[in-house]
Amino acid sequence: MTVEVRETRRRQRIDTDEQPKGESLRRRSIRALLRHRSGMVGLVITLVLLVLALLAPAIAPYDELTMHAADRFHSPSATYLLGTDEFGRDILSRILIGARISFSVGFISVSIATALGVPIGLIAGYAGGWFDGVTMRFFDALLAFPAILLAIVIMAILGPGPFPAIMAIAIVNIPTFARLTRGNVFAEKEKDYVEAARAVGVRPRRIIFRTILPNVVSTQLVHMTVSAAAAILLEAALSYLGLGIPPPAPSWGSMVSIGQDYLRQAPWYGIFPGLAITSLVMGLYLLGDGLRDALDPRRQRLI
């Protein structure tokens, strides 16, 4: 075991103070999350929706694109549980397949934002100097745009589609990931264990990625969960505005948008996709909130 790893472990033990013997920080956090009531509600909602999304092609009662011309605007019934749309497509099947879009956009865009934002934040925070100055001024300019406006402009440039939507949402999220990481690194790099690693001659790259990174991972995890919720909401908004993922793909946002045109004759068309967005975003948000409490040693005792 290298010096800095041992140092990290020691540090974690101190931070969590009276840790029961033999219980790792990870197990302790998992137990704290399991006791967190609203966090568990969020976890269950998210997992149920994830399973539904994964199984969607198998459990969807109809093909999401098949048009049943005789059954246009069929109200919810035993045949079509959530009714049909203007082409007689089954809305339940479209919502189930749509869950795959929401999950993918949320997961991929946040992964990209993390993969780019976190290293930039780590380096900027640790090295400071011109790299810090240039990147942070650049991110200041990006943050000067309201998130939705920035995403709209990027979509106007790239054109509609799933890939542009993922890119736009990732770009909107990079500055916050970088800023958050940078702030964490500022706080960490003055601590004794980093000083110790530096004193024994560990190279900067190793200090940044092996010594500091493991100590800021938990904050990132929380931020990723909450950002995924926001990303899914943003995709829905873009698709609602007609700039995101275009029909016939069953994006929840564009379903609500078209549903609005037929609100009088088929109110269910606008209602159900909106409920789907709400439950997924709320589930992820509650999960993120629970994770925040469970991963914070100071709050663990309160749960």
Binding site: S38, R137, F138, D140, A141, A144, F145, P146, A147, I148, L149, I152, V153, A156, I157, G159, A229, L233, A236, A237, Y240, L241, G242, L243, G253, V256, S257, G259, Q260, L263, R264, P267, G270, I271, G274, I277, T278, S279, L280, V281, M282, G283, Y285, L286
Partner: protein, 303 residues
């Protein structure tokens, strides 16, 4: 601030060049004649290198000359100015709605933690994070516009011609935009008030025998409101970005809807100016809030 402003102006300038197609056509619109294209190329030096074009554009912009809409030949400034009152009216009314909801809810839940008010507050803030604003709007349209027929589902009649209809048409957009803000404000008000209730001067006030009502109104509430008002200011930026979506839901003729219409019309000079003005307003609001924050709380000083 200055580097961010320069970077923002560069980003907005680049919109025209990043959108696929010939920049002259992008500015002039698809129906431009050859003479118009030639005039534009001369005016903006579109055959010159990008930095030269940027400086020319920035010079024009600083003199307030943002160009003409080639769809209807009006100066873009005129078109945008026509839309500003609607957006300000919407944002202002939404702020009032938010205060009317959040103040009673936040205060009651802080005074009675664990009570039914507290539960409603928690539920309200969790829900409002997941519910997309556009869907809230559509549900309001469904209920009050189509089912109960109490309010017009969209549009904005002129106040001078139909004052009652005008105010009626304002209710739903203002509530949609206000509800999202109310959730944040309630949560903040509750925690801020709980902090104040914990202060020594509150205990002193109670100890010297003041009635609970006097303690609440004179000692607690006053000190709670100072930071809350600042937060309200801080959220004005959020109102602005929320307006982009809400205006689209209700066909409210504001600046946000103009952004999307400009994209739909491919009127890119209009889009460019509109985005620039929104971002400048956004930055100005954030700056003002920072300054006001310093005035309200003397502990905060800006170098």
């Amino acid at each position: 601030m200055i580097p961010a402003l320069l970077l923002v102006s560069m980003a907005v300038f680049m919109i025209i060049h990043l959108i696929p197609g010939d920049p002259a056509k992008n500015i002039a619109g698809p129906n431009a004649t050859d003479e118009q294209l030639a005039a534009l190329t001369r005016r903006f030096g579109l055959d010159k290198p990008l930095p030269v074009q940027y400086v020319t554009w920035l010079g024009n912009a600083l003199r307030g000359d943002m160009g003409y809409s080639f769809i209807n030949k009006y100066p873009v400034n005129t078109l945008i100015a026509q839309r500003v009152p609607a957006t300000i009216e919407l944002a202002f009314s939404a702020a009032i709605v938010a205060v009317l909801i959040s103040f009673p809810l936040g205060i009651l839940s802080a005074l009675h933690p664990g009570s039914i008010f507290d539960f409603v507050t928690t539920l309200f803030s969790a829900l409002s994070f997941g519910v997309p604003a556009f869907w809230v709007g559509i549900m309001l349209i469904l209920l009050f516009g189509l089912q109960l027929r109490l309010l017009p589902p969209s549009g904005r009649p002129k106040f001078g011609e139909q004052p009652v209809q005008h105010l009626k048409s304002l209710i739903m957009p203002a509530c949609t935009l206000g509800i999202a803000l109310a959730a944040k404000l309630t949560r903040y008000l509750r925690s801020s008030m709980l902090d104040v209730l914990d202060q020594d001067y509150v205990r002193t006030a109670r100890a010297k025998g003041l009635r609970e009502r006097v303690v609440t109104l004179r000692h607690v509430l006053r000190n709670t409101l100072i930071p809350v008002i600042t937060i309200l200011g801080l959220q004005t930026g959020d109102l602005l970005s929320g307006a982009i979506i809400v205006e689209s839901v209700f066909a409210w003729p504001g600046v946000g809807r103009l952004t999307l219409q400009a994209i739909g019309w491919r009127d890119y000079s209009l889009l460019q100016a509109d985005v620039l003005y929104i971002v400048l307003a956004f930055m100005l609001i954030n700056l003002l809030t920072d300054l006001v924050y310093g005035l309200v709380d003397p502990r905060i000083r800006y170098a």
